[in-house]
């Protein structure tokens, strides 16, 4: 899949990268281009190859085949020390016996800078990550979130062209994680440093990334902006992995028509032939229940099988009537539910807008 960017000169170009560990193929012909200043997330379940790809970019894991270029330079075979990147790990990997100041200054001291220069640079970085005055503390004396900020400052100290983040937030509490998400994104915006982050948390990827690379079994499933990936998942895997998605069996009933049991819905059927079985995918929040008239397009009646309270919304399980034994989950607001006064066993008229229905090949 060609995943080129709009401009002609990408900052990072990964071409046909294959990584094998013995018989196991961790990366299977991966190609991608990343522009300067972009924030890209590698997203996927564990074992999908996202960390291997990041480590290949860093030179920590050498790809078996393929080419990696950074800023027009072929770095495919270079050792990590000859590449230009800063890296932050899930474990922070802060040097435990060095103070916060020494940790951040570690890379600067290798550049033979003046002591005063190092001092001012470290203090600028501490201010940047909001840790002013913590110079003399040891990593063990800081909270997880603070340690991660030190790691970030250390990675940025030498002004690398590329910032690599390997699950940087996974080890943190949920609250701290949400907070740091914004801070990292904000920092990246201000510095404009090209950033790649590996995560298995779709929410993290959706909120932080300019573009998301969804991976599975060593291949790229889809590359796109968070909105594009959420709205138009290219494959059933992406549809299932990102957000919540209903999958029900259906049959093509003609051009632009798909049949679920006795319910026939209008949707984009592309060039699928009539009679072909497909998987019909609908997001729970795209099922409309407010003021639906029977005459409306794609409207049908279903029975409420179960209700689940989720706080701000209710998860409604729909089945029966024309759907047969198919089950659809709909997320309806508490407000609407109060209006409709639905209980299990009630019938309800719902509709699914045609442009919100996606079809995938059956038997994924």
């Amino acid at each position: 899949m060609a995943t080129g960017t709009q401009t002609g000169n990408p900052y990072l170009r990964i071409a046909n990268v294959i990584k094998k560990f013995g018989d196991f193929t961790a990366l299977d012909d991966v190609s991608i281009e990343i522009d300067e200043g972009e924030f890209v997330c590698f997203l996927g379940p564990s074992g999908c190859g996202k960390t291997t790809l990041l480590r290949a970019i860093a030179g920590l894991e050498l790809q078996t085949y393929g080419r990696i270029e950074q800023a027009g330079r072929d770095i495919s075979a270079l050792p990590p020390s000859a590449r230009d990147f800063g890296i932050v790990f899930q474990s922070y990997a802060l040097f435990p016996n060095l103070s916060v100041f020494r940790n951040i200054a570690y890379g600067l001291e290798n550049r033979k800078l003046q002591k005063a220069e190092i001092d001012s640079r470290v203090h600028d970085l501490l201010e940047l990550v909001g840790l002013t005055g913590q110079d003399d503390k040891y990593p063990a004396q800081l909270s997880g979130g603070q340690q991660q900020r030190v790691a970030l400052a250390r990675a940025l100290a030498t002004s690398p062209g590329l910032l690599l983040l390997d699950e940087p937030l996974s080890a943190l509490d949920a609250r701290v994680r949400v907070h740091l998400r914004h801070e990292i994104k904000d920092l990246q915006n201000r510095l404009g440093v090209t950033t790649i982050m590996v995560t298995h948390d779709q929410e993290e990827a959706l909120t932080m990334a300019d573009r998301i690379v969804v991976m599975n079994h060593g291949v790229i499933e889809q590359v796109g902006t968070p909105v594009a990936i959420y709205r138009n998942p290219a494959t059933a895997f992406v549809a299932d992995f990102i957000g919540k998605m209903n999958f029900v069996d259906g049959t093509i009933a003609g051009a632009g028509r798909v049949r679920l049991g006795d319910v026939e819905l209008a949707c984009d059927t592309d060039d699928l032939q009539s009679g072909v079985t497909v998987q019909v995918a609908v997001r729970p929040e795209d099922i409309v229940a407010r003021n639906v008239a029977a005459s409306q397009d794609n409207a049908f009646v279903a029975t409420v099988a179960d209700l689940e309270f989720l706080g701000s919304s209710l998860r409604v399980e729909l089945t029966g009537k024309g759907l047969g034994d198919r089950r659809l989950i709909a997320d309806l607001s508490v407000n609407l539910m109060r209006e409709l006064a639905l209980e299990p066993g009630h019938d309800v008229m719902v509709c699914i807008p045609a442009e919100r229905i996606r079809l995938y090949a059956a038997g994924r």
């Binding site: 860093a58 080419r67 990590p80 004396q141």
Partner: protein, 667 residues
């Protein structure tokens, strides 16, 4: 996804950074080092054990001239067989064996005017000695009768199983295999039984004075294995204080060896068992209690299976230590031969190096088996304890606690008693006739054995071993654990680092003679110097030190090296500024372990010391051999004082270090 797959034809080959090049070079150096200190010596020893010597009479020929010209050519074999002087037993010999040529000529007289000619008919005949030196060429050599009386036929070298056949067919040697196994099995059973309950008391009861009992049990580690044997001589020997207790049996023999071996191997078993019993999940015991399981049944179904791997490991460690030990059987073994003393007797006593090598190989077998089993068990034990296990807190039980305190007290009294006997004996003027105290026995310079210089040598040797050993072993472990790529090389070095554990000290020492004393070895110059003692001792104790260092390194974040590389810091900077400071406690542990073992070891160095490099432990051995048993006890006590002092210093250093680095170590 259907786009054409364009794969570069050739796999990507890593470009090496300066770090990689330096690390690989260091790894090659380390590999060569390990090759020279363990692999090659063992190889030389093995090939030595296959060297056999036999006379090639069929290839030696004579001619006689009684003034009337040279007679017909006579074959030595034909001559000897017809005379009955060459029998099959006489054909097999050692490298020092010689056959007098005149034996083949019964009418020989050195005053006779008769002339003789002799030659090697074939170049592989082995040659013959003639006045000044050996003759190997195949030309006739003409001698007078007077010269002919000094002609000796030399044996030729060949390789084969001859030595092993001879070994098996020599009852006095082969019986040692049985003796060694008997001693090792008996001692193992006794020590494991004693140590298991001692460890159980330390970990699973609320017995009082646990700290004291723990320290007392570790005392034997500070002493050479010769010390308990010397104590036993004073306690149960011919003039022993408690001789009556033996009811007529002699302490010189299996009884003494078993008691002495049990004394010094006890702490080794105890340490393993304490660790095994400390690893326990309280939830299992709570479950057993909830199911109303009896205490005995809980012990049999929960405690014992949980400590299974520790027990197996301890059994093999004790077995190996006993069967390879030389000190105890040397001092108290009497006429009871074991494998380790056989090597010593063959090499030092009879200068029969080939047979020494054969016994070494035999001794290597049980040690290798024990080593392999231990490795397998160690690998399995890793997964035993999940991170979620709840550590067991023993609950007080008056009856059991007091019973265990009495038990540990009894064991402790025996240990302290053995040490105390040696201490007392070292201070007594003339046992058993003049029991007044004096320091005369410490006046080593008036005795044979090496004097105070030997003690000084030991201190120097131990310091060198601790310093160079720690540097080499820790750097080596670092290369294996933290190197980038080069998986094959790292695996190979790991293997070489584990190997020394399987090699008994006697075997290593003998192997060093064969390798470093070989005339063609360019490293031969270190033979007979302090350097070879240090090298041998480092190698002897390499494995445990390596594993300690590797464990400490494994506990460090594996991404430190990646971060350093991204920050363009050379690896040696991170090594010096982060790795070493973080691992300092482990580094101190390794160095004290090497120091104490260098002070107490006898087995390996007994073959390698020279008159300038006599060691304290060797002096103990030599003084005991010469009958100076009181000074031997005194020297053994000097080793104990020194080891104990160093341990104390180590404990203080470690505590100071912990206080200084508390800020960053605790979470």
């Amino acid at each position: 996804m259907a786009e054409a797959v364009a794969i570069a034809a050739r796999p990507v080959r890593a470009k090496l950074s300066r770090d990689d090049v330096i690390m690989r070079a260091a790894m090659v150096v380390l590999g060569l080092f390990l090759l020279a200190v363990i692999v090659l010596p063992l190889y030389f020893m093995l090939s030595k054990s296959f060297e056999t010597y036999s006379f090639r009479f069929e290839s030696i020929e004579f001619q006689i001239n009684d003034g009337d010209g040279w007679g017909e050519t006579l074959n030595a074999l034909t001559l000897g067989e017809s005379l009955g002087v060459i029998t099959p037993e006489r054909i097999t010999t050692t490298n020092g064996g010689r056959f007098q040529a005149t034996e083949l000529f019964p009418d020989f007289s050195f005053r006779s005017p008769r002339l003789y000619r002799i030659r090697n008919a074939r170049p592989d005949a082995g040659g013959f000695m003639l006045g000044g030196g050996p003759v190997f060429h195949t030309d006739w050599v003409e001698v007078t009768s007077n010269e002919f009386r000094r002609v000796q036929i030399r044996p030729a070298l060949s390789t084969g199983l001859g030595n092993y056949v001879a070994y098996v067919n020599t009852p006095s040697l082969f019986f040692s295999v049985y003796n060694s196994l008997f001693i090792a099995v008996t001692t193992t059973v006794i020590v494991i039984g004693l140590a298991f309950f001692y460890a159980y008391a330390l970990t699973r009861t609320c017995m009082p004075y646990k700290g004291l009992f723990r320290v007392v049990a570790l005392i034997p580690i500070l002493a050479p294995s010769l010390l308990p044997a010397i104590s036993l001589v004073y306690l149960f020997g011919n003039q022993g204080v408690l001789k009556a207790l033996l009811m007529g049996e002699s302490i010189y023999g299996p009884i003494g060896i078993v008691i002495g071996s049990a004394f010094w191997t006890f702490p080794h078993a105890l340490m393993i068992l304490v660790t095994a019993l400390s690893i326990s999940d309280a939830r299992l015991y709570e479950a057993a209690e909830a199911l109303r399981t009896s205490r005995l049944r809980t012990f049999l179904t929960v405690t014992l299976p949980g400590a299974k791997y520790g027990l197996i490991s301890a059994i093999f460690v004790v077995f190996t230590l006993v069967i390879t030990d030389f000190g105890v059987p040397k001092v108290i073994g009497g006429q009871f031969n074991v494998l380790a003393t056989d090597i010593y007797k063959q090499v030092i006593g009879q200068q029969n190096f080939q047979m020494g090598a054969v016994v070494s190989v035999v001794l290597l077998l049980p040690a290798v088996v024990a080593f392999v089993v231990d490795r397998i068990v160690q690998r399995k034990q890793v997964a035993l304890l999940s991170a979620r296990a709840v550590p067991l807190q023993p609950k007080p039980n008056r009856r059991i606690d007091i019973a265990m305190a009495f038990y540990c007290g009894a064991v402790g009294i025996v240990i302290v008693g053995m040490l105390g006997m040696a201490f007392w004996a070292s201070l007594i003027k003339f046992w058993p006739y003049n029991l007044s105290l004096s320091l005369n026995n410490y006046n080593f310079d008036v005795m044979d054995g090496g004097g105070w210089e030997a003690y000084g040598n030991s201190i120097r040797m131990a310091l060198y071993t601790a310093f160079f050993g720690t540097v080499i072993i820790f750097s080596g472990a670092y290369l294996v654990e933290k190197g980038r790529g080069f998986r094959f090389g790292r695996g190979l070095i790991q293997l070489l680092a584990i190997l020394p554990m399987a090699v008994p000290g006697m075997v290593l020492g003998l192997a060093y003679i064969f390798f470093f004393n070989h005339p063609d070895n360019p490293l031969g110059f270190i033979y007979g110097t302090m350097a070879i003692l240090v090298l041998c001792t480092i190698t002897h104790f390499y494995t445990v030190s390596h594993l300690t260092a590797a464990t400490a390194l494994k506990q460090m974040d594996p991404e430190f090296e990646a971060v350093s590389a991204s920050l363009k810091a050379p690896f040696y900077r991170t090594f010096a500024r982060v790795t070493v400071p973080v691992c300092l406690p482990a580094i101190l542990d390794v160095s004290i372990y090497l120091f104490v073992n260098a002070m107490t070891t006898v087995s390996a160095v007994v073959f390698l010391y020279s008159t300038d490099t006599t060691l304290a432990s060797v002096a103990v051995l030599n003084m005991d051999d010469a009958g100076d048993i009181a000074p031997a006890a005194a020297m053994a006590m000097m080793i104990v004082y020194t080891s104990a002092g160093m341990r104390l210093l180590h404990a203080l250093l470690t505590r100071g270090l912990q206080r200084r680095t508390q800020a960053w170590r605790t979470r």
